[in-house]
């Protein structure tokens, strides 16, 4: 056995390191090389001006007059108006209350991310948290000044419409899906009529109806809160879509499962609760989440019925001659908020899918 070792020869430069990686991934063919060159050129032309506009030449806390002469983005439109954009007409001195309420909500959502913590106490925590948020927003007890819901606006309103809308629409949607698959004709027909009717009209019409037609049919002097009316319209609308998604899940469960449940002597409720729904709902996580995401974004349609959600407060700021014309900056800010919310939702659903092994 020879004891001498051969000198280690370094692998060719073109195979390892940065150069190797570039060759393997960016220039491993004529088409890919061309693509790389085109993209690099594109970034070269677009990137630097964009960065200059976004950061280098931008103004962050100036007046609108200074902004009009600046070459870069005017983030001052946000810094000067962020409180109105985020909280709308909520009294200026009391805005710590909606901020705290949102903080509570974010904490609850963060805790609920961890499935190991899904125990009974979390349910109670949610109940307590929601009460706490309601008290903070509404006031009137514990020495807090009452603030009417007509003054709620901005991000809390968007979140309120979205979270309560989705939380209420999901169970309703499941019930409707079960109703549609029911063997009882009355329930079946009612569910079908409801689902098809609601899916047949756009959300805008429903919001218009809730805001404009509906009040005219109420008795004299009776007015129902505008936010509640919009909220109900959103719930009714989203529920119909969720129902159809859940129905897809129900149909994917093999007949054998139902028969097995029957053999065990389980009744309808038990069959559904223990056997069918846990499997069906697991299957429909991806489509449900895309419905939830689109429903979240749809809440911005309440703009047209004059509710000051975060989109409307932003538009309102832009209608002010002082800040007119800085719409790109304001809408970029808004897009970031929406993106964070939607991305969190889809991220959470992927995690859930992984953990549940779907």
């Amino acid at each position: 056995m020879k004891e001498t070792t051969m000198d280690d020869i370094a692998p060719p430069l073109t195979r390892v390191g940065i150069i190797g990686w570039i060759r393997m991934n960016l220039f491993n063919g004529v088409f890919n090389s061309l693509l790389t060159i085109v993209i690099v050129l594109f970034l070269w032309y677009v990137g630097p001006p964009l960065i200059r506009w976004l950061f280098v030449n931008s103004l962050w806390g100036s007046t609108s007059v200074a902004c009009r002469n600046a070459a870069g983005a005017c983030w001052s439109v946000i810094s000067a108006n962020y409180r109105f954009i985020l909280f709308g007409f909520y009294p200026y001195d009391l805005q710590w209350r909606p901020s705290t309420a949102m903080l509570v909500l974010v904490c609850l959502l963060l805790i609920s991310r961890n499935r190991r913590l899904w125990k009974k106490w979390l349910l109670y925590a949610w109940g307590a948290g929601l009460c706490c948020m309601a008290v903070l927003m509404q006031g009137g007890v514990l020495g807090l000044t009452p603030v009417e819901s007509t003054q709620w606006g901005g991000l809390p309103l968007t979140l309120l419409l979205a979270i309560f809308g989705l939380a209420a629409a999901y169970p309703l949607g499941v019930l409707l899906a079960l109703g549609r698959r029911s063997k009882m004709p009355a329930i079946k027909i009612l569910s079908i009529v409801y689902i098809e009717l609601i899916r047949g009209i756009p959300l805008i019409s429903m919001l218009f109806m809730s805001a404009i037609i509906f009040p005219l049919f109420l008795p004299e002097g009776v007015t129902i809160n505008k936010i509640l009316r919009a909220q109900v319209a959103i719930i009714m609308f989203t529920a119909a879509y969720i129902a159809e998604v859940v129905r897809g899940g129900l149909q994917a469960i093999p007949k054998g499962q139902y028969e097995a449940a029957e053999t065990l002597g389980l009744n309808y409720v038990q069959t559904m609760r223990l056997i069918v729904l846990p499997q069906a709902l697991k299957i429909v996580i991806p489509p449900s989440v895309s419905i939830l995401i689109s429903a979240f974004k749809d809440t911005s349609l309440v703009v047209i019925i004059g509710l000051y959600d975060i989109l409307k407060t932003t538009q309102s700021v832009l209608a002010n001659p002082e800040w007119m014309g800085f719409s790109s900056e304001a809408f970029i800010f808004l897009a970031c908020i929406y993106f964070v919310c939607c991305y969190t939702m889809s991220n959470y659903s992927r995690r859930l899918e992984r953990e549940l092994g779907v």
Binding site: R83, F84, F89, Y92, P215, G306, A319, N320, P321
Partner: protein, 339 residues
């Protein structure tokens, strides 16, 4: 298209409900509630828009405050309800608001078929033209052959076409759907003139790259009297709203401002004494406090002050008084005697 169909729907609903909607006593309802609910625009600078603290600002907003001052002696006893153009009349009909101060043009059909009652006009608007100064145009009649930036599908487009036809002039319309784009096109020089409601032209000019390079021509080619509205059939409430607006105009004519109103209480002029309630009578007839006009002027101001504060020369809109000057200064603002 949808909005038109909705319009028909709403009109039908309003007619169906008709008499049932007209309340017997808005005043007593308002007193029981403890505040006046006023429908406002919410997106129109100078007329109804919240500032960065969420405080309402504008000519229409101050008109609402004047009504609250007349009814309660406190301009803060008021709630503003921001409304869209489609919602505004329904909100009034359904009782969601007590009075509408939302730059609504007073027309015959609205006053009759929609079951509204308009009161004293608080702003006379009208369609106008804006041109770059360097064109050296002083009158709309010199606009022959001009390219005109205009929003499509509005009465604006029709008005401008009519105007050019009646004056035997030619025009090349540049039609752009979106208001912001329209303004951009004009400021970048794509057309010789921009046409819209005069108050909106002022708003557009205030955000121009160089506002001083543009002028708004004196000609106004359409009538847009903007007035507060109440439900039809409640005359006492209508009177209160009407005289709240008129009180601001009368105060300006009498030379009473929010600053000198306390001194004016000592005035020997019988008109001033009656107006401020030193000599009682007006308040009792109207069904409000004798000092209602005093409270309006003290807390909100006279019409001139309100105008200057919201849309006047020192604001970004920089509107001239024009038609909105007192009748003594060649405008249309004229209040009947307060006696």
């Amino acid at each position: 298209m949808r909005s038109r169909r909705l319009w028909v729907w709403m009109s039908v609903a309003v007619i169906l409900l008709g008499a049932g909607v007209a309340t017997a006593g808005t005043l007593s309802d308002v007193r029981a509630k403890g505040f006046v609910q006023v429908g406002v625009n919410g997106q129109l600078a100078g007329f109804g828009i919240p500032d960065e603290k969420g405080e309402w600002k504008g000519l229409d907003v101050d008109t609402g405050r004047a009504i609250a001052a007349a009814v309660f002696g406190d301009a803060k006893k008021i709630k503003f309800v921001p409304l869209t153009a489609v919602q505004r009349f329904t909100a009034l009909q359904s009782g969601e608001i007590d009075v509408l101060c939302r730059n609504a043009t007073w027309t015959l059909s609205r006053d009759t078929a929609l079951g509204l009652s308009f009161v004293q006009v608080n702003y006379y608007d009208g369609q106008g033209f804006m041109v770059p100064k360097k064109l050296n145009i002083k009158s709309a009649k010199q606009l022959d052959g001009a390219t005109v930036c205009v929003l499509p599908g509005t009465t604006t487009e029709q008005n401008v076409a009519d105007y050019f036809r009646t004056h035997n002039m030619k025009m090349k319309p540049v039609v752009i759907e979106n208001n912001t784009e329209l303004n951009k096109a004009f400021f970048s020089g794509r057309c010789d003139c921009l046409t819209s409601d005069a108050s909106q032209l002022a708003g557009a000019r205030s955000v121009a790259p160089n506002p001083q390079d543009y002028i708004i021509l004196p000609e106004i080619i359409s009538k847009e009297p903007l007035a507060p509205a109440v439900r039809h059939g409640d005359d006492q409430w209508k009177d209160i709203v009407n005289f709240s607006v008129l009180a601001m105009i009368e105060a300006e004519e009498l030379g009473i401002t929010s600053k000198n109103v306390d001194e004016m209480l000592k005035s020997t002029n019988p008109s001033v004494q009656r107006f401020l309630g030193v000599v009682p009578g007006n308040g009792k007839d109207l069904g409000v406090d004798e000092k209602f006009a005093y409270n309006i002027v003290k807390q909100v101001g006279n019409y001139g002050e309100v105008f200057e504060r919201n849309v006047g020369a020192k604001t970004p809109l920089a509107l001239e008084r024009g038609l909105n000057a007192l009748w003594t200064h060649g405008g249309l603002m004229y209040a009947p005697p307060f006696k």
